[in-house]
């Protein structure tokens, strides 16, 4: 199956939650030196839940789409719930088959999220 599905490309061309929260509770930057991808993520919590989240950075279609979809998903959810998210969740969320070499592109935003939740 082609990984460049319409929904993926739509998130790539029109990413959701892109940018930076000025007064963020937490801020993190992660990168993958192998391909030069970078994601900066900022978040505001309300009690134990994510109220607002934004990301920006450089990356391929998969890493951008993954960040866009993941930031949509996490809003309003609790830290405990989100800490359980794993690579299987990301693959299911994207709905495409990623080979061993591309899966790391999809997981960069999850890495950022997990570091924000610590």
């Amino acid at each position: 199956m082609n990984i460049y599905q319409d929904i993926i490309l739509d998130h790539y061309h029109h990413p959701h939650n892109q940018g930076k929260i000025n007064k963020a509770d937490q801020h993190i930057e992660v990168n993958n030196p192998l391909c030069g991808d970078k994601i900066e993520m900022t978040v505001n919590f309300e009690k134990n839940k994510i109220r607002e989240i934004k990301f920006q950075g450089e990356g391929c279609v998969i890493s951008n789409a993954s960040a866009s979809m993941l930031t949509d998903y996490v809003k309003g959810r609790s830290k405990q719930e989100l800490k359980k998210l794993d690579s299987k969740f990301i693959i299911k969320m994207l709905g495409i088959n990623l080979g061993v070499n591309r899966i790391k592109c999809a997981l960069l935003s999850l890495e950022a999220l997990q570091k924000l939740l610590v």
């Binding site: 082609n2 030069g36 991808d37 450089e58 990356g59 391929c60 279609v61 998969i62 591309r102």
Partner: protein, 407 residues
Amino acid sequence: MIDIKTIKKQFPIFQNQPDLIYLDSTATSLKPKIVIDKLKEYYEKYPANIFRGIYPMSEKATTEFEETRRIVSEFINANKPEEIIFTRNTTESINLLAYSLGRKIIESGDEIATTIMEHHSNFVPWQVLASEVGATFKIVDINDEGYLKINWNEVITKKTKILTLTHISNVLGTINPVKKIITEAKKINPKIIVIVDAAQAVPHLKIDVKDLGADFIVFSSHKMLGPTGVGILWGKEQLLKEMYPFMYGGDMISEVYIDKTTFKDPPHKFEAGTPAIGEVIGFKEAIKFLNKIGMDKVREHEKQLTAYCFKTLKKEFGEKIRFYGPADIEDRGGVITFSFDKFHPHDIAQILADQGICVRAGHHCAMPLHTRLCVPATVRASFYIYNDKEDVEKFVEGLKKVQKILL
């Protein structure tokens, strides 16, 4: 002219994948049937260890193995087969030099010089060695066209014990004027030892080590139609004799006593343990294959194809495509590295892959160079004797599809 159709027929991969467009020979080359057959011959007819058995199978394997050494030595015009050391790959050849030569001669305050366009395998071992012993690690920069900025008087001093540099950049394609560089370096410091990373050169150009004037050259079988698992280190006999052994163990010793061990002469001093016997034996068939075509013709073919690819890409995509490395085809190998619009190299390579086109995306094991170029990653297409204009045309069509999907 090379008849590509006839050549393609001799590579079984094209029967298995008739639509394959393989543009990643810089990473590794495809293998002709005669090489695969030779591997099979060893494993099926005389799969014995070498140098040990008195029985005929072992003698046959030993003879075949040593025959490759002779053919390699003739291929690069070495003085004698004993100057050819078999390793696992180019990386191991360089690490061998860093350990066995570097740790013998480099002391605190000495200098090791290299260039910014090196593959990590010719960068990191020297960087680590320099930091371990307190030597200075000097790096020659490039200019915007991708040529080395050769101010050798500033780089080479009497303290520079080793200069190690690539003959052809695996990213920029730049063919460095190695012979001239060696002459200049040795004029400033006659004692300097020069190592040439010829992994991208020996498969594509006629290399004559006597003419080149280097002290050591390193390359790999798998990038020149041969099997994986075989690297080559060529060195001047006297220097090889003076170096420390690399690994200790079987086959490399002369006599072992409770309190001391004596070692064999090169090349065996550096070939501890059972090597990749079948692969070394198969390698000579690759050299014979290249010899039959003629290295001058290989070079000419790649030059024409590279020029055609440049022309076609420029015509089709104009300013949207940015090339790295020299524009003059005389100064570059069959490597085209580029950025395309705002598209990420991984997406470009992936969409090409979906169309059966194999290119490489990333930093190609040359992070210092990519940092210098101010890009995290690039796309690279490279050519060899089985590529033709049709491959270039399909590659261009593939890039049009990238535009269609991502724009």
